[in-house]
């Protein structure tokens, strides 16, 4: 040991290891981890794999890979427990969640150490960030359990939830999944990542400790195959997944048509935008909390740094200087900033991407650190000279290295920020509040941090836009992912639409009136179908009502293009949108008789009622346009946390075959009231009702492109829309098979799909045909964090 006098000269930190004896003993007593099923820890039946401490390469224990039988047993246990769990008074569920929160707190040091040994993250982060957030999540959701009956009177639990979580925040992701599910009255089958099963099994023991009823929480360990077994199990009502976008796509396809509710929290390539008027030192420290947090293994990491050109040079100088003070090494050492990546495989993947970045011409600046001889350590750094076209600018590195770009103007920053498939988070650095909030509004991201990064709270919804997934975790929005509207009696399947008739000249005679020229409605103009084809529409007793244009893929393309150009609609005031909807109702009312007659000709039994209900609905959504807005969430002190309801952009709407006026407008009205532009496919059997609406729309001051209407083969058009990468969300009211087709086809850009699963709705009944559920599905929540103080 050097003398104190000498240490006074070097002023090094010296080692500061966190003791891990208790955690090591706990692991040693569990050489083979099994599963937690029906309230008991059970030995695994199938194969097992080693659980490795990525910082030392030591094998800690082994973990079983869940088999079909084990998944089956777990789902059965969850099913058996669910009704009783949901029937408990909210207060009783709240007590259980409160007990979980308390016990996590009582074991915080043990859980922190265990997490470090399993994952390689630093003890500081596990101790100061992960575990406190875990406890906070259970506390918050104990509250939702307590308040469920009064806060969500029209909702009920979904049933059994399958939940698949990643290895980067093992216990935190478990908490994010389990807490809301349990609060809402669901039971769960959760699969931890096979790389990091330890804290989940410790949590299982906590469940036993607090006397959680058997079967409420089930944990089946395993890898991707076990995950697929859970995702594919027919006994699962809801699947929640956090992980890579690629696996998200697989799960989207696998669950298509299954009726399972799905939420996906996927990858990101989140922009970190530094304006010339930012506090540069603060922004540099922000980078530390962004890409150098959790070894960069963070889905919402600010991994694309955009810096305004005028300050790029000093900013990079400061960033290089800060990089040089990062400490990388033993994650149990309390002075380390960066621990080990989760595995050597992950390290190799990261290093390969970094090599690719260098090969493509970017300059990699890396911390000059001596890495420990063993363990999956990776020196942090950042690239300069990266261009948007570079692989490293587009691909999630999931390691401690950011790319950088410079920009000239705020507009260019917004364009560059949104030049990504992803839309998870964004971090904005500027001391100009106008600029910062403008950028927060422009950026496509589910979470925006202004002059901060990686702030989390159980009350603040977290989740992505675009290919970062859909669904939110935390807060009221997160609870809704685990609830369904209370069912309204029997469900009847929707009858198939009338087949497309007479695409070639038909056999039937038409009435003597003036010929109806029903075209498509695209970009505010009536347009012929690109294919130059029409089909015959028949009404009551087979009478020919006319021909409707037979739209095809190219018409879908044109309509989406037109909708994409109508960007102004989302930006006008909600009051403006309300006015347009009121005006629409007024114009429809003036032509009520005409629509009633046309509906009568289709065979509608109560045509006047349908027209009247449509007018009322327009009023209702006009009323909602400026009322269904966001809120302010109580998170941390001196922070304003806003939850904004943002429109998706372009939505695809597949109207039901029944109620050709009201059904169509029940979808169009809420979507446009919330600021979306829509491409709607009219009732296949009775499209001529929709085509009469063109003139109503034109006279109602609706900007061109906000509503585009197509007629033709419902499912052909639905497939084109579902596959279209520029359609951000879709509602489908068709058949059961069509639902499966649309859900599978949506995997391309992972647009959220809302369908009625091919069951009929009574559109005239407001309880079924309108409501908050429609409005909620027409928006995505953007959570904006604004810390304040001067």
């Amino acid at each position: 040991m050097p003398a104190i006098k000498d240490l006074m000269q070097t002023m090094d930190y010296g080692p500061a290891p966190e003791a891990n004896a208790e955690a090591a003993a706990w692991i040693a007593a569990r050489p083979l981890l099994g599963h937690f099923i029906n309230g008991r820890i059970v030995a695994p039946q199938g194969e097992s794999v080693a659980v490795v401490n990525p910082a030392t390469d030591a094998v800690l224990c082994h973990v079983g890979l869940g088999t079909e039988t084990e998944v089956e047993t777990a789902v059965k246990a969850a099913r058996a427990a669910q009704a009783k769990w949901a029937a408990l008074p909210g207060h009783v569920r709240a007590r259980h969640l409160y007990a979980l929160a308390r016990h996590v707190q009582k074991r915080e040091r043990f859980l922190s150490v265990l997490e470090v040994m399993d994952n390689g993250k630093t003890i500081r982060e596990a101790r100061d960030i992960d575990i406190p957030l875990v406890a906070r999540h259970f506390y918050h959701h104990a509250g939702w359990a307590e308040l469920l009956e009064t806060e969500f009177p029209a909702h009920q639990a979904l049933g059994v939830c399958g939940q698949i979580i990643p290895w980067n925040f093992p216990l935190l992701m478990l908490a994010w999944k389990i807490a809301p599910a349990l609060a809402a009255g669901n039971t769960v089958v959760l699969k931890p990542a096979d790389l990091t099963p330890l804290t989940a099994m410790a949590f299982a023991e906590i469940c036993i400790e607090i006397g959680l009823p058997p079967g409420v929480v089930n944990i089946v360990n395993g890898g991707g195959e076990t995950g697929a077994l859970i995702a594919g199990h027919p006994g699962i009502d809801k699947l929640a997944f956090t992980g890579s976008t690629e696996v998200g796509r697989v799960l989207r396809r696998q669950t298509a048509g299954s009726g399972k509710k799905l939420s996906l929290e996927l990858g990101g390539k989140s922009p970190f935008i530094v304006f010339e008027d930012a506090d540069l030192d603060a922004a540099v420290e922000g980078v530390v909390d962004a890409i150098w947090f959790n070894q960069g293994e963070v889905c919402c990491a600010g991994s694309r740094i955009l810096v305004q050109e005028g300050v790029a040079s000093p900013f990079f100088d400061k960033l290089r200087a800060r990089l040089s003070t990062l400490r990388v090494g033993d994650p149990l050492d309390k002075t380390m900033d960066i621990g080990a990546l989760v595995s050597h495989k992950q390290r190799a993947r990261v290093e390969a991407l970094l090599e690719k970045g260098s090969a493509e011409g970017a300059v990699l600046h890396r911390a000059d650190v001596t890495l420990p001889e063993k363990g999956a350590f990776c020196a942090p750094g950042f690239f300069t000279g990266t261009a948007p076209a570079h692989t490293v600018s587009q691909t999630e590195i999931f390691g401690p290295v950011a790319t950088t770009l410079t920009f000239r103007t705020p507009d260019e920053a917004a364009v560059l920020a949104n030049d990504s498939r992803y839309g998870l988070a964004a971090s904005i650095w500027s001391e100009n509040i106008n600029r910062a909030i403008e950028m927060a509004a422009k950026v496509k991201a589910g979470v925006v941090w202004i002059n901060a990064t990686n702030l989390f709270d159980a009350g603040a919804p977290f989740g992505g836009m675009r290919e970062s997934g859909f669904g939110r975790e935390g807060g009221r929005a997160g609870m809704l992912e685990y609830l369904a509207p209370k069912s309204s009696g029997t469900v009847k399947p929707r009858p198939a639409p009338a087949p497309l008739a007479d695409v070639a000249p038909g056999a039937k005679a038409q009435g003597p009136g003036i010929d109806v020229t029903a075209k498509l409605y695209i970009g505010g103009k009536q347009a012929r179908a690109d294919g130059g084809q029409s089909y015959t529409v028949t009404g009551k007793a087979g009478a020919v009502l006319g021909q409707a244009a037979l739209a095809g893929r190219k018409d879908v393309r044109n309509a989406v293009e037109a909708a994409g150009k109508a960007t102004g609609w989302g930006g006008v005031t909600a009051h403006n949108r309300a006015q347009v909807l009121y005006f629409l109702a007024e114009n429809l009312a003036q032509r009520a008789d005409e629509f009633a007659q046309a509906l009568a000709a289709t065979g509608s039994s109560k045509p006047d009622d349908e027209v009247e209900a449509t007018i009322r609905r327009a009023f209702w959504y006009a009323a909602q346009a400026d009322k269904f807005d966001g809120g302010v969430t109580a998170t941390k002190s001196q922070h304003i946390t806003l939850t904004l309801n943002e429109p998706f952009g372009t939505m695809g709407l597949i109207a039901p075959d029944e109620a050709p006026l009201l059904g169509l407008m029940s979808l169009v009205l809420p979507a446009i009231a919330m600021g979306n532009r829509v491409v709607a496919v009219a009732s296949q059997s009775q499209p001529l009702i929709a085509t009469r609406l063109y003139q109503v729309l034109e006279t109602s001051d609706l900007p061109a492109g906000v509503v585009n209407l197509l007629t033709g083969d419902r499912d052909v058009l639905a497939k084109s829309l579902a596959e279209h990468d520029d359609v951000a969300a879709m509602w489908y009211c068709g058949s059961t098979e069509g639902t499966a087709m649309v859900e599978a086809a949506s995997a391309g850009n992972l647009k959220p799909i809302w369908s009625d699963g091919g069951t009929l709705r009574d559109w005239t009944n407001p309880a079924q045909g309108q409501g908050d559920d429609f409005l909620r599905r027409a928006v995505q929540v953007k959570t904006v964090w604004l810390p304040y103080g001067s």
Binding site: M11, G14, D317, N451
Partner: protein
Amino acid sequence: MMDQGAFPRMTGTPFTPDWFDTVQINTPAAERRAASLPTRRTVKKDYQAAWLARAITCIDLTTLAGDDTPGRVQRLCAKARAPLRADLAQALGLEGITVGAVCVYPTMVPHAVKALEGSGIPVASVATGFPAGLTPLPLRLAEIRYAVDQGAAEIDIVITREHALTGNWSALYDEIAQMRAACGAAHMKAILATGDLKTLTNVYRASMVAMQAGADFIKTSTGKEDVNATLPVSLTMVRALRDFGARTGQMVGFKPAGGLKTAKDAMNWLILMKEEVGTRWMLPDLFRIGASSMLGDIERQLEHHVTGRYSAANRHALA
């Protein structure tokens, strides 16, 4: 081994508002960084003892009270010469350790100089109408010259808060430059009284002006404001001196004062210095801690390090 080399004395620069007048400090971000510093770093065992010993060498052992007397100053100086009980100093191998300086009012300077004769410990004097700084400028300058004449090697001046609060930066510059001239060979520490400046942006700007005007050290507080040295304020000042250094190559010292009472405080501020400006800024020529009671707590911690038993205040000599 860290570079302990001498460096040229601060000369300051012409008044250059470009360096600060558009700078904005983000307070929540500064607070987050300040809060995470002590959680990101810790120092244990022998290293901790070494750091605490280093802190002792950086202390400006201070008495600035209306009831100061020659006797009180003498007692303080005796403590400055022997900040650690002899047996502890010996056990730690730190015989001969002293504090950084003794800091007193101008009229106490001759008593301190006498009491510290031969020790090599400099006497620092507050001046310029401390703590409010609102006496006429000629009197304030005269006070500096008086303290220097009496043997003070370091002068802790206070700035005119009015100039900072009203954004009259050129007036502030001129005044501090005159004070620096009056100091002559004595090193000048500019007290910004950050508790009065309120915003971190003001703190940064005032720091930059003081450095441009030639302050050898920038210092947080008189100890008499409502809020004295805090980590966010210190972070802002240290970053300012880092920016100043990057622009000019000149090295400026930093002195937090007021409110630092515990060994833990000493560790936190040393960590701040190491992280933000590096180990060179952990030596007394660039880092001082203005404190009176902190030394006692450090002694107790060091006794614990030596004996393994928690210590009591009455086992250590009073300052």
